[in-house]
Structures are given as structure tokens and as C-alpha cells.
Amino acid sequence: MTAIDWNRLATRARRGRRVRSALLLAFLTLVSLPVILPFFWVVVISVSARTGGVEAAVLWKACAVLVPCVLAYAGVHTFIASVRARIIAGLLLGGLCLIGLYVLIGADLHLNNYRFLVNPNLIEDIRGAATIGGQFPWVWEAFGNSLLVALTSMTLKVIVATLAGYYLSRFAFRGRSFFLQSLLLLEVFHPWMLTIPIFLVIFWVGLLNTLSGPILVLTVIDLPFYIFIMKGFFDAVPWDIEMSAMTDGATRRQAFRHVVLPQVRGGIIAISVLGFIKGWEEYVFVTALRTGNSYWVMSTYLYYVAEDVMGVDYGLVAAVSVFYMLPSLLLYLFLQKYLTQLTLGGVKG
């Protein structure tokens, strides 16, 4: 038997690992570019565009600074194992980046497009009150309404889906499988197909032109899916833990609250995030269920900023867009670990 050159094999394995991770990074960068670029562009426009026009020059200059920095950091991450060194390199590159940006585009940056946040009479100032009849609200009113719609429908969804999911997971009752199947059947129809009947129902119950209309509709159309998700999470909680709590002296409700509920926390957070974002970004039903401008939410506000004013101010539209997507983005960033659990829970169910 010939002697094995362990060192050579080890070197080859190390090199292979590096090449693989470098390729992976390159691939991911390439794939995420078309996703990130539009968002980045919106942000750039919102802080650089002057009234009337958009210049791509700022975007390219910013890219000219950022892309080499990102690539350099990718290199650092691939070839340097020490976490300390990585952090130092990251800070250095970040600093370089800031200096580069300041030198190249610092003069073009301004916050004037964000004036809608502090100026209640934004459109009137530009076009004169006569243009739109003075009906265009301050952004904070729309913001408050959107928050109300999102939070209320989220709360309703979470409460109903949690209780229904628990019941479906734990109790056998007549028609249970029929109920589960019809829940799935509802998912087949896109809610937009139901816009006209929904409009009529809301009209008859007298909720047209109130925020309660879209809140209820949004809650109801998402519920089947959320109930399924929660049922999956409850199915994954072992039965004997609950029985153990009940022999320990808890009532069924106490067992649910103290023992079962803490274990589906991930599911509750996940559907809360989804439910909030769904209500936050809703456009179709908030538009369909009002006649005239009885209420404003962020999506309709953005729409009117973009469409209703003659001659679009792209800087303003971009700034509103950035403001609009900030809450969803922050929620996603901080709670994404729960959203990835969602698929797990779903598979189990």
C-alpha cells in the first residue's frame, strides 16, 4: 500500500470548500441583484430627486462605490476565518463606502422629498387647494388608518385562527373532516372574484365607507389559511403534555394557556406578522368598499400621490413608497426566523 499524503488531501479539501462557498456567494449575489436593485433605486430616488425629474447618474455613482465594497467584503468573508478580522474588515469597508458615497453623491442628497411627513397641506402647496378640492389628507391620518386596519384585522385573525386551530387539532366532532375540506376549498377562489358580492353584503349591513368593512373582509378571507397553519402548530404539540397538565390540577383552559399556548408562540408570531403585512399593504378592498374619499389608508395615499396629481413628482412618490414599506420591512427583518418556522409547522400539519 502506498503512503497516503494526508496534507495534500487536506489542502485539496480546504481549497474545495473555499471555491464552493465563493461560487455560492457569487450565485446568490447574482440572483438577489434584480430583487435588491429596484428597492435600492427607490431609496436613492427618494433622497436625491429634485422636482420634475429623476437622474440615473446618482444610482450608478452609488453603485460604483457600493458594489466593489460588497464584493471586497464577500472576498474577506470567504478567505478569512477569524470573526474578529471579519468584523474589522467589515467596519473598514463600511467606512470607505461612506466616504466614497459622501464624495461622489453627497452634494446630490437632500430630504426635501420627505416633506410630506411634516407638511399637512402637501398637495395644496404645490397645486393649489382647488385642484383636488382640499380632500387630500395629511400622511399621518392615512398612516393611522392603515395601522388600525392592519392591527385590528391581525388581532382578530390571530384570536380566531388560534382558537379554531386548537379545536380542530384536539377535538373530534361531527363534520370535522368536512369542515377542514371546505376550508381548503375556500382557498381555491381568489377573494377578488368575490368583490361584488362582498360589496353588496357590506352595503346591506351598512358598513360601506367605514374602516370596519375592509377590516372584517380582510380578516375573513385570510382565516382559512391561518386556521390551517395554527392547526399544524397545535398538531405538533404532544397530547400527553396537555393530559399531564390536567392531571396536575389544571382545567382544560388553564392547560391551554399555561402549557399549550407557549409552545405555539412561533406560529402565533408568524401569522401575526403575515396578518399585519397583509392588512398594511391592502389596496383592493379598501378601494372597493368606499365610494368617494370617505377614508384614507397608506395604499390609497400612495396611489393618489402617484396618479391623481398631474405631472408626477417621482421624488415624492419614492419617498412615500419608502415610508410605506418601512414597517413591513422592519417586521420582516426582526421576525423572519418565525416566518421560516411557518413552513415547518405547515408541513407537520
Binding site: D240, S244, A245, T247, G249, H258
Partner: protein
């Protein structure tokens, strides 16, 4: 601590009968094992005692009072589930405190009691951990502490040792027995492991297909198994059961005839002869046998031999196999050790013995 009675208890789900008309009574402070293969209804019996299932018919009594309709939470029964069923969102201490929370025990007293019981099961250094950070043996001790902290009327153990490795199982067996004696709590252990049952329990209830086969001390079940099922289930390596025919004072096995003695031999017919491997030994005269296999089992060696009455397993207390396959010898057994069962009813024919 309580006396527990089951009277004609049956549990069925429609046509599926899990527990079929069982009756037992447990003395205060007794340790009883319910032994049987999986699916024999032993866990169902346990859950009926705990109040998780309601019996379809029959009565369950604690200290003479009927508790059929008493909710699980009011029965004050401690239960250790096979999976331990610890609350993963709570620390060990919170787990042990959980039952006391519903008994309105003042916080300081509760904590003192929890620490006392933790000391008893030797987990006082783990109180701040979460169940996920514990080993199987430690989780089991926590489950035991949680079941015991409420001073239960009845302690139920559902296969508590089946998830532990062999060495740990051995020490936990003694440990659970020690704790049970110390607290004097009436205990029911459900297990499919005969060693667990015979080593730990004062009495064993052997169950099969929802019915009680025999209730007795471990020695009773070994010396005088009431049915072939009990005979086959108790004892390791398992008993030899040989089809035979009883005709007066002879036992016909194929062409071979053995002598049969005792009252009841006149009721002839098909029987089964039970011979435990440890009761068969080599002798100058007896059944002519040829060794076909030998398995060293550590302290003993298990042989398989072809004899005129069929293939027999027998044990020899030698650690080194003495006989190689092919070796010829004569085997014998004492008539008093032999067991004869009626083949039709599978029941033991008391007093009937077979002799070589």
C-alpha cells in the same frame, strides 16, 4: 395514599374493546405492576385511573368512594408519562411547582416542598435548567418529582424506564422502588418488560388482549402461571411449551410417553407441557438429546437440543459453552417443576406433573 378498586371495568370505542371487564384491588401503599404486550389495554387502564378516559362500564373506587365522574384534575393522581411530558417552556423548578399552583399552596411553602422532592429524586442542582437541556434520566427524575410533589393518592408510571439505556434503567428501578417505599404511595407501574415488573412490584397483574390473565406475586407468576400466556410471558429465556396428549397416567408426545401424576389426570385430552429452560439438566439417563445450538449468555449458556419430545431450550450455569453442536447427552427434569396446561382453555392443571 389510597386503596384503589376496579370493579368490572370495561373500556371500548365502538366495536374496539381496549379493556374487557377487569377487576382489581390495590392495598394502600402497594406497588403493583401491570404487565402485558403492547396493545393489551394496560395504558388504557392507567388513563382510566388518572381520569383521562372514562370507563364505558364498571366502577373505579378510591378508598371505597366511586370516582368515575371525578375530573382528572380533582383526583390528585400523579402520573409519569412514557415521554415524561415535561413542560418545555418552564424550568425544572417551575415544572415541579406547576401542580402546586392549582392547590393554592402559598408560594414559599410550595417552593420548599418542591426543593424537598427535588432532593429526594436528586435533581436539586438542575432546578434552573429547562427540560431540553436535560438527559433522559434527568428528565425522568423531574417527571417523577412533578408527579410526587402534590402528595398524590396514587402514582401512575407509564413505561417510565423504556426510554433509558440499560445501565440507567437498572439504577432507576432501584431508585423508584426506594422513593416509593419512603413515601408509601400506592403505585401502579405499566410495563411490557417482565424483569421490570418482577423486580419492582409487590404484585403483578398480567394482561392480554384487554383481559387480566393472572394477578399474583412475581413468584406466583413464575412458579404457577395460571395460563400458557403468563407462562410464556414471564421468564427469560422463555419457557418450552410442548404439545402433548394426556391419557390417564401417561403423557403422549409424538411417539414418546412420559409418566403423568396428580389429581385430574383422568380428564384426558390435548395439553401443553411447560418446561422452563433452567429446570432441564443433564443426567445419566433420560431423554436422548443432540445439541443443535449453544448461546453463551454471560453467566449461563443456553443450549438448544433435539429430543424425542421436540426441540428444547435448556440453561447450564457455565460461562464457557461446554457442549458443541452435535454433542449427545441425556436430559431430565423434576416432575415438581413441570407445568401442564389444558390446551383448550390454556389454563394450568394444578397438581398435574410430568415425569421422564
Amino acid at each position: 395514599m389510597a386503596r384503589v378498586d376496579l370493579q368490572n371495568v370495561t373500556k371500548d370505542w365502538g366495536t374496539a374493546v381496549a379493556v374487557d371487564d377487569i377487576s382489581l384491588d390495590l392495598k394502600d401503599g402497594e406497588f403493583v405492576a401491570v404487565l402485558g404486550p403492547s396493545g393489551c389495554g394496560k395504558s388504557t387502564t392507567l388513563f382510566m385511573l388518572a381520569g383521562i378516559y372514562a370507563p364505558s362500564s364498571g366502577d373505579i373506587r378510591f378508598d371505597g368512594a366511586r370516582v368515575n365522574d371525578v375530573e382528572a384534575r380533582d383526583r390528585n393522581v400523579g402520573i409519569v408519562f412514557q415521554s415524561y411530558a415535561l413542560y418545555p417552556n418552564m424550568t425544572v423548578l417551575q415544572n415541579i411547582l406547576f401542580p402546586l399552583r392549582f392547590q393554592k399552596v402559598p408560594r414559599t411553602d410550595a417552593e420548599r416542598e418542591a426543593r424537598e422532592i427535588a432532593r429526594l429524586v436528586q435533581i436539586e442542582n438542575l432546578l434552573d435548567r429547562r427540560p431540553g437541556q436535560l438527559s433522559g434520566g434527568q428528565q425522568q427524575r423531574v417527571a417523577l418529582a412533578r408527579a410526587l410533589v402534590k402528595k398524590p393518592n396514587l402514582l401512575l408510571l407509564d413505561e417510565p424506564l423504556s426510554n433509558l439505556d440499560a445501565t440507567l434503567r437498572l439504577s432507576m428501578r432501584a431508585e423508584i422502588r426506594r422513593i416509593q417505599r419512603e413515601l408509601g404511595v400506592t403505585t401502579i407501574l405499566v410495563t411490557h418488560d417482565q424483569i421490570e415488573a418482577t423486580t419492582m412490584a409487590d404484585r403483578i397483574i398480567c394482561m392480554n388482549a384487554g383481559r387480566v390473565e393472572q394477578i399474583g406475586t412475581p413468584t406466583d407468576l413464575y412458579r404457577a402461571p395460571e395460563t400458557t400466556f403468563v407462562a410464556a410471558f414471564i421468564g427469560s429465556p422463555p419457557i418450552n411449551l410442548i404439545d402433548a396428549r394426556l391419557a390417564g397416567d401417561t403423557l403422549e408426545i409424538g411417539d414418546k410417553r412420559l409418566r403423568a401424576t396428580g389429581a385430574g389426570t383422568e380428564h384426558g385430552g390435548p395439553v401443553k407441557l411447560g418446561l422452563r429452560p433452567e429446570h432441564i439438566r443433564e443426567a445419566a439417563t433420560g431423554l436422548a438429546a443432540t445439541i443443535t445450538a449453544s448461546e453463551p449468555m454471560g453467566r449461563e449458556t443456553l443450549y438448544t437440543a433435539d429430543t424425542p419430545i421436540g426441540s428444547l431450550h435448556f440453561l447450564e450455569a457455565t460461562s464457557m459453552p461446554r457442549l458443541a453442536p452435535g454433542a449427545k447427552l441425556s436430559l431430565t427434569f423434576d416432575g415438581a417443576d413441570s407445568l401442564v396446561f389444558d390446551a383448550a382453555t390454556t389454563r394450568l392443571m394444578h397438581g398435574v406433573c410430568a415425569h421422564v
